[in-house]
Amino acid sequence: MHAGARFFDGETARDHAVTLELLPEGLAIEGPAVARRVWSFAGLIAITPMRAGYPLRLGHDAFPGARLVVTQESFARQLVLSAPHLAGAPNLKRAGRLAAIIVACALFAIGVTYGTLSYAPQALAFVLPESWRDNLADQVEATFTGNGKLCGTSADNPLLRILSARLQEDNPEAPPFELKVYDIDILNAFALPGGRIIMTRKLIDAAQAPSEVAGVLAHEIGHVYHRHAEAQLIRAMGIELLLQVISGGGDSISGLAGLLAILRYSRDAEREADGYAQDMLIKAAVDPLGLKRFFEEIKKLEGRQGSGGGLFGAMSDMMSTHPVTDERIAAIKPLPQGVVARPVLSDAEWAGLRQICE
């Protein structure tokens, strides 16, 4: 079968009129100014997929830049019978292989990312220099407490110092920390990097006894001991970095979402802090049932309010940042037999602590 066509040899932009001939071994091309040549069927490439009403544009693997334009549709159809891949039919084998590669890469990337984000931050948290921890703490504290009033810190307030010292009794391995009480409109306590612990006035108001406050404090010291806050911050930075890699250095995650990610510890971290608190309270002879009672109260309180209030609501309740579960409550054991609880604060001191923000 013969047909006329236009041919570009890939050497100059000159167009050549040629005659095409279908041979068993390939496509023969010949014209007044074009020496006869045969293009093998297997090497033919459809520059644009074949479409009725449009000329078929062909290239060939072995001759980059050379182009052949077939306008005669009957010939193009005939040609496709010999070289079916020109019809633009999906190449299932190739598509399958591509899909497999993409899925494998995605799984590998997810695996590596998950592993790195799970373990590396916790390890890095222990090699952060002190000054970096302090800088981090300054930023988080400023963001979180806003223009709430600072009622006192264990550095200058005698009551907070007594409370802190009471927990450190017989706990020589306890990490250094600074307790700060803020008057902000949420009920919560959290450990910041650099051993800073923030407690809110509403938490102290909600507590029935000094042992409850001491229990919460011990729990937060547990977070400080394990450097959970530092690890969480490093994790958040890692996620932000990852998002920037994907989006090409574009937007970063919003501060609020970042803070939420920072303050919401994993169940494992909560369990670690609970375990630490249990040990610390027993060594200091403080009744761990105070912490237990406080958790139960919080759980009841949150249950009544229900979840809601949007992002801000979710941030402000203790359940969202320290989810209290029955399992956690059940894990808290009383003082062992033979250990007698010593009071945490005197009545006068407790009364003073409850008025710390007045």
Partner: protein
Amino acid sequence: MDLRAVDAEENGFGTTISIKYIDKPGLGRIALLNALLFVATLTLYRFWAKTNVRRHIWSCVHINGEPLEYTGRGRELFLGALIVFGLFFLPVILILAVLRLSLGPQHPLLVVFNLFLFLIFLLFWGMALYRARRYQLSRTLWRGIRGALVGSSWTFSLLYFATSLLSFMTMGWSTPAMNLNLQERMTGDMRIGTMPFRFKGRAGPLYGAYALCWVISLVTFILLTLLLVWGVYSASGGSLPTFLRDYAKTDAPPSQTVVIVTLLALFAGFMIVSALLAMIWTFYRAREMAIFASYTTLDRVRFRLDATGASLLGLVLGNLLLVIFTLGIATPFAQQRLVRYLCRRISIHGTVKIDRIMQSREPLGRTGEGLADAFDVGGI
């Protein structure tokens, strides 16, 4: 059987050139699929999306009956972006993070570093533009012949850097002359195969339109500022001096409403001023495009671009609305409108010796447009 070559030689003087944009169906499907995969892959698909759109739009541009062919691959764009991120952005992000961590967020050294970064970005901006153009040309085929950009991206980026700094120092008045320099270099480096484009002309004719736009911008800016002050004045109950004095008092912070109203007014004012200025400068851009086209030659061909301020403004505003109201899904159509605008308004006079357009011997880079993707200046 027609064995006659299509390009008739006119008495040995060469062939006339015509450009046509011939629409074909399929862009809607590309746009939808691109938008879908863009979201599904957390934007990673953007390299392949861009490639699909280019392949379509290129193939609609017919020069002497033969469409352009885009041979770029999404993979090349992806690799280019990855390399630039690793060599450029990752170190910057890490250094910034370490500096912030070790020095605290308010340290003066951070300001210095940011200023330094800004200069570096400015320096690389021109390089990004140049390399993106080089990649696109090398992936554009006409009748199997590749385009090319043969100069050095370093030279161009230095020129671009100087242009930006000078423009800042001369309050913009160096811009037309420097833009001419940039265009001369870029166009002069462009090739179809081995055939060079040439660019020759003076900056003088640009200055009329420039001066007009400059003065109108200044007047607009002053008028709007006065309007804003007057607005605040009447909002404060006609007692501006008292209002300002109250505002400046340190012991009595301004009420929240006043602060919010002032901020909103400033923001609205800023948006209005930016929009108006952009619209005014579209007229200069149209003039510049037309003049630059008239300074460009290829062999014995001269170009004329019938770009007017009004038509360009219509195009830009239309595109803006198109992109905004479809949440970006119709971006390919906006790009198509731009290319179609150029193809329809360009007219070509004179002839080219087709035989002298020989295959380019410039090496083909393996990756493309990394910097341009990062800075988002890759054009289409």
